[in-house]
Symmetry: C2
Subunit: 330 residues, 2 copies
Amino acid sequence: MKKNKVTIYKVAATAGVSLATVSRVLNYPEKVKPETREKVLKVIKELGYRPNVIARGLASRKSTFVGIVVPDFSRGSVAEAINGIVKLAIKYEYQTLVFPAEDDNRNKRDVWSDIIASQVDGILYLNDLHDEDAIEGIDRINIPVVALNSVFKESKIATVNIDYSDACYKITKKLIDNGRKNIVLATTERKYTINDVIKEGYLKAIQEANLKSKIVYTSGKTDKNTKIFIDYLDNNKIDGIIGVRDSITISFLNNAIISGYNVPNDLEVYSCKDTRICKLARPQLSSIHVPTYELGKIAMEKLTVLMEDGKLEKMDLFVPYKIIERETTK
Amino acid sequence: MKKNKVTIYKVAATAGVSLATVSRVLNYPEKVKPETREKVLKVIKELGYRPNVIARGLASRKSTFVGIVVPDFSRGSVAEAINGIVKLAIKYEYQTLVFPAEDDNRNKRDVWSDIIASQVDGILYLNDLHDEDAIEGIDRINIPVVALNSVFKESKIATVNIDYSDACYKITKKLIDNGRKNIVLATTERKYTINDVIKEGYLKAIQEANLKSKIVYTSGKTDKNTKIFIDYLDNNKIDGIIGVRDSITISFLNNAIISGYNVPNDLEVYSCKDTRICKLARPQLSSIHVPTYELGKIAMEKLTVLMEDGKLEKMDLFVPYKIIERETTK
DNA sequence: CTGTTAGCGCTTTCAA
DNA sequence: TTGAAAGCGCTAACAG
């Protein structure tokens, strides 16, 4: 490792001060006399010195690393969140380390073990598919955690979300108010916590209107879903679709159109995330707009507070959302 | 930092050996007597000891960190690559650190400066929009770099790609062989190196057939592109579309269909990436299939070789690709 | 305001 | 085959 040969010693030597002084201008500049500070800063710049974060981490027992735990980077809703997170991480001078969640070849404990070994100061948890073990892992680990787009029923984990239940209640109600009576919710068969909450909102609106709930369970695979949707459409007459994920919704929409539905006249459709692909649907998809990029920034912001103060005024934060009407609703 | 209180000292003490021995069973197990090794391993397990990667990094001058430089996580083609990278990083016991490229608020040098400070042992470069400065940065930094989905004309940077030029030549030729004479290439106005290479393949086929090239330049924004496409379709009669990115292609496809084209009869369409959204287009999009996940794995694999041996037999690797015929081509 | 010094938790010679 | 001891580059008391 010959890179970054210039160490704090070299800076100290060429500036004619002790290494402690150099360290101070970096960490507590106010504790150093302005002239000395300027002199040191000048040398730092000339030499292109950057403190070794590893050494700094060891000495200070703060790594300035935050870990992002995420199951799959290709999910539109996590990708934008990560953009937001890294944006703020730069601002606060944290480095971001990524940890894939629940890899099939390894048991879940290992993720936490990896995280502990890596000495991160905080964790952003973007995994929405968590069981008892995951929660126990988070509770036991002695590191601040902020979860994003993920609901924890009885745990003191800090979360940042939109109120998905309320949002889905609203769009369901909109459809009902438009006279729709056969509204299907397309959700995942796997138990994602957000999808459960979305379902609650849907059911509430449906029950209030004395309608019958209709739920179709899907997988993550478009090909498989196509079969499910075709089959469903063959056996059910519907006039409303709500899909928990944009890809699911678009797939359902496409199959409905192919089987003869006129959207939005016969059938109105809402999605629940509003990732970029909503605008790539034809007709363009109406959706609950989740400000994912902002959520990422807010979560990172919360985490910095948690890492510095050890506590948060509000553990569960709900960020405002919008409902975007495009071409699949009236 | 009270987490991970168990250090190598504790393990050594409770196992009744010196810390050097514990270190050896972790790093050079063959150098320690089997019985001692077992004893130490047992204690490690009981105590749940995990070596502090920070301290290890400082002592060994190898951080076991790799940096991923990426402009935008929400691009389908980078997300899958990252999935592949982290998958292999786990296998080789590297931690992955992410660095957003070219943030507007900071000049480009800072990215490299951040990277140097973080002490990564290697870099995966997923940024396809690089200028002279970026190349100079890579060349000057004394750390192994593998670039993915990115072309460097005259630099000794290791790359992993598919042969985009050849692939685009082939699909263009297919369209020509189907009798298409007005084939448009939809590419980006920004100079992405891959898109330039794709264009080369397109132009080669077009010129060989003595056709006239037609290129429409787009942005990253769907709304803006819609205007561009509508305008283009108003003023041009076409029978073939090739889009450099799936989102661009779908957007063009949608507008063509809305303006009356029958796909694939009047108009055949190919895309160049084959991310998940190709299957969400209606009709489903034919595309060059880039094995992005695999590219990520291969790039990480290459990087480990580079980090260990300092050299590679083949600096520019081309991975096989396929052309997937779906519903937008005949 | 600045310098000296003792670590942070580990790896790595060098001896034994 | 093992242990002692010297750092890795930095932070953080503690003096001065």
